[in-house]
């Protein structure tokens, strides 16, 4: 691995994405990309009591899906880079703690996934054989975190943003 110019690094063994998976919420399921997702949810809670727990479950299930799709056993995965939009990255840390894979919490808001991919790629260059990168967000928990509670009776302008409910995970080596 060497540095080129100011902000570029060149890998000796370019990392390859082996498999990826995504689970999304009901609004994303109505969109034009619906057929590309592994699983779409009918409701925002997915049988959980709070949105945070639902988000945790989404990221946990996404990571499990990618592990089963790629056929790599959990012991062979050296570390996981994951993040979300909540305080202390709770949905990823609680969602992934049962997997017992070394976990790095990443926070970069919209750039979390690309950040985890770059950090994971650098890991594959030194010690890691397989690395997981995941991210998750949930519309309801993100609204509460960054804007207003959903129950507040305010009007959204037509151009207001809508945070994705869903999770994405890639496994690479």
């Amino acid at each position: 691995m060497q540095k080129l110019g100011e902000q570029t690094i060149k890998f000796d063994n370019p990392p390859t994405i082996l498999d990826c998976a995504s689970i999304v919420g009901p609004k994303e399921a109505q969109g034009p990309l619906a057929k590309y997702f592994d699983q779409t949810l009918d409701d925002e809670f997915w049988g959980e009591k709070t949105w945070e727990k639902a988000e945790s479950k989404i990221i946990k299930e996404t990571v499990s899906t990618v592990i089963s799709k790629s056929g790599i056993s959990i012991d062979n995965i050296d570390c996981v880079f994951a993040g979300d939009l909540l305080n202390q990255c709770i949905s990823s840390s609680f969602g992934l703690r049962e997997l017992s894979i070394p976990f790095f919490g990443v926070f970069g808001a919209c750039s979390t996934f690309v950040e985890s991919l770059s950090l994971g790629a650098i890991c594959t260059e030194s010690f890691a054989k397989h690395v997981l990168c995941a991210t998750s967000s949930h519309f309801c928990s993100a609204e509460k975190q960054f804007r207003f509670p959903l129950e507040l009776g305010n009007q959204r302008p037509p151009t207001s943003q809508w945070t994705v409910t869903g999770s994405r995970c890639s496994c690479f080596s």
Partner: protein, 154 residues
């Protein structure tokens, strides 16, 4: 000139491309829903007066009923739909204030009763309270100064 060259031209470009809020429709809905809420308040006030309460007690009863009703509708997931439709019409009366306290209390319940409900209940209404109360203290001080002067002068 390239529309994305400076901050201002970029902002103009975004404004031109993005759809505007339907201001006329929003104003109309806000007007009649706000009016309706105030009419309901007036009806309750008149009933109370009829039953023999004085004006200030009747006013308190109106506030209590409207706050209770708004908090109840927030809990039923109905107030946000009214608010989405009516905007300022349901936000400006005391109903909006009740909603702004009940809605965080509901959502932050997942973080516990003390630090969640208790700590986050005023996240939306907090600034209104702080500046409202501060402004009223300032006005009170100004009133006190001018009032004393007029007393000493006369």
């Amino acid at each position: 000139m390239d529309p994305l060259e400076t901050k201002k031209t970029y902002q103009d470009y975004v404004d031109k491309k993005s759809p505007n809020s339907p201001i006329l429709k929003n104003c109309f809905n806000a007007f009649w829903v706000g009016g309706l809420i105030c009419t309901i308040g007036q009806i309750i006030l008149n009933i109370c007066k009829e039953r023999g309460f004085d004006t200030s007690t009747s006013g308190t009863i109106v506030s209590i009923i409207l706050i209770g009703l708004s908090a109840f509708l927030t809990g039923l997931n109905l107030f946000n739909k009214i608010g989405k439709f009516a905007g300022a019409g349901s936000l400006i009366p005391i109903t909006g204030f009740a909603n702004s306290i009940v809605s965080p209390a509901m959502e932050y319940k997942s973080e516990g009763y003390v630090m969640g409900v208790g700590g986050k209940m005023f996240t939306v209404a907090g600034p209104v309270l702080v500046f409202g109360i501060s402004a009223s203290i300032l006005v009170g001080i100004i009133y006190l100064i001018f009032n004393t002067q007029s007393v000493t002068l006369v």
